[in-house]
Symmetry: C2
Subunit: 221 residues, 2 copies
DNA sequence: CGCCTTCAGTGACATTGTCACTTAAGGCAT
DNA sequence: ATGCCTTAAGTGACAATGTCACTGAAGGCG
């Protein structure tokens, strides 16, 4: 494999001295995961830190009864602290990360991570910031699930998923898994949206017909 | 104020060299908060890290509509990373910390924190571990709220709050705020528990009459 | 004792979740 | 093209939870 310089991609490594960066590119492994495959999960806990070089990962949690909820998404340039957290806390967890696109990630051995966190302020702050973002993300999820109305949440999510697009290719089941609810509930609400001429539907596809209308619902709480 | 040595109380500082510990006790402030008072909140964001020396803090989030949910509790010896997270992420948040007992906390200026995190492995790991625990706590909250039944959650929470006790002094409203639901819902479920002779009630007090029975409900999902 | 505040109970209703189905759409093999 | 098969979506009945607008009850205190 070519030793390409991924360090410029991350806020925590871009500003490091050239020597340190060379050491990193030599130590870390680069992995590729195909769209749709699991990046990590309860059966597959990486022993190391990892950083998302390219692509997007969807992190979700699933219940015993088979329902599922999306916690947040990891974008290129960010690090995935959840696996780290679980290693540190030595706790089982039922969250998993799925590659939403083809993914290129950097896997940094724990030892190298520790050394870097100790020696480089920029890197350490980057990691703290990554933890913080996830904590804030989860606060938001809790707020939504505990206090939000399902129609508002769905409208929000549709707009988020369809940002800049005319349609979304997702099944009702997939949308239900986004919000941690049941497919039937999504079907009902989408039907309502359809009756109000905010969207139109066909198998596996939702087409926007009135984004401002959806936005009004999304912001009505 | 007496410069008492709080450093022995924390996993992240107990093992530090004596010189470092002296520097810390000189730099950090010790604060006291009375039972029931707010330790931090949206109007009151501490600019510094803080560590809980003694007492217990309840961290909760509240909705616009006035409902509230307890996220987790901070016990003596732990650090409070949420405020740190919010500083780092530069995000508004609507979580607040309330002293559940009289509280003694150590407030460490950001500068001292950074230096310590850079220089001392034990301290840095302690902070990472604290972040991790909170992340895991929140995963649990999301799981409960999104997928859990209210009777199961209430039974669990009653047992947790009443651990080792014969009764709990909490109003229905307070229990509702623990779980992020409405008072009426708690009243209904408690009534049901009463009919099944698991508890007995009087104004502001819930008395256990059958803890194993409650435990059975708590573990039935 | 009566007043007042806070806590708890109640019934009607809305929203959301669950269950057990049916119906429809599209892919694929013959 | 035709029928088969898998997956997606619709439906109605019901259960669980949340909301609203009240009423009633308990305890503190003048």
């Amino acid at each position: 494999m070519t030793q390409f310089d991924w360090t410029e991609r991350f806020a925590g490594t871009a500003a490091l001295p050239a020597a340190v960066r060379r050491r990193l590119t030599a130590t870390a492994r680069v992995i590729h995961v195909k769209h749709g495959d699991q990046v990590f999960g309860s059966m597959n806990v990486p022993e190391s830190l990892f950083f998302l070089y390219d692509g997007r990962i969807r992190v979700s949690q699933s219940s015993d009864s088979g329902r599922e909820i999306v916690l947040y998404r990891i974008e290129a340039g960010d690090s995935c602290v959840l696996t780290t957290a679980c290693i540190l806390a030595e706790e089982a967890y039922n969250a998993e990360g799925i590659a939403e696109t083809d993914v290129t990630a950097i896997v940094l051995p724990k030892l190298a991570f520790d050394r870097l966190a100790a020696e480089e302020d920029a890197f350490r702050n980057f990691v703290f910031a990554a933890y913080s973002r996830r904590l804030i993300d989860l606060l938001r999820v809790v707020d939504d699930v505990a206090f939000g109305r399902i129609d508002v949440r769905l409208a929000e999510r549709l707009l988020m998923l369809g940002d800049g697009l005319k349609e979304i290719r997702k099944t009702h089941q997939e949308l239900a898994s986004e919000l941690g609810t049941a497919r039937e509930v999504i079907s009902r609400v989408l039907n309502d949206f359809h009756k109000r001429e905010l969207i139109s539907q066909s198998r596996g596809i939702i087409t926007f017909t009135n984004k401002p209308g959806l936005a009004a619902i999304a912001h009505s709480a």
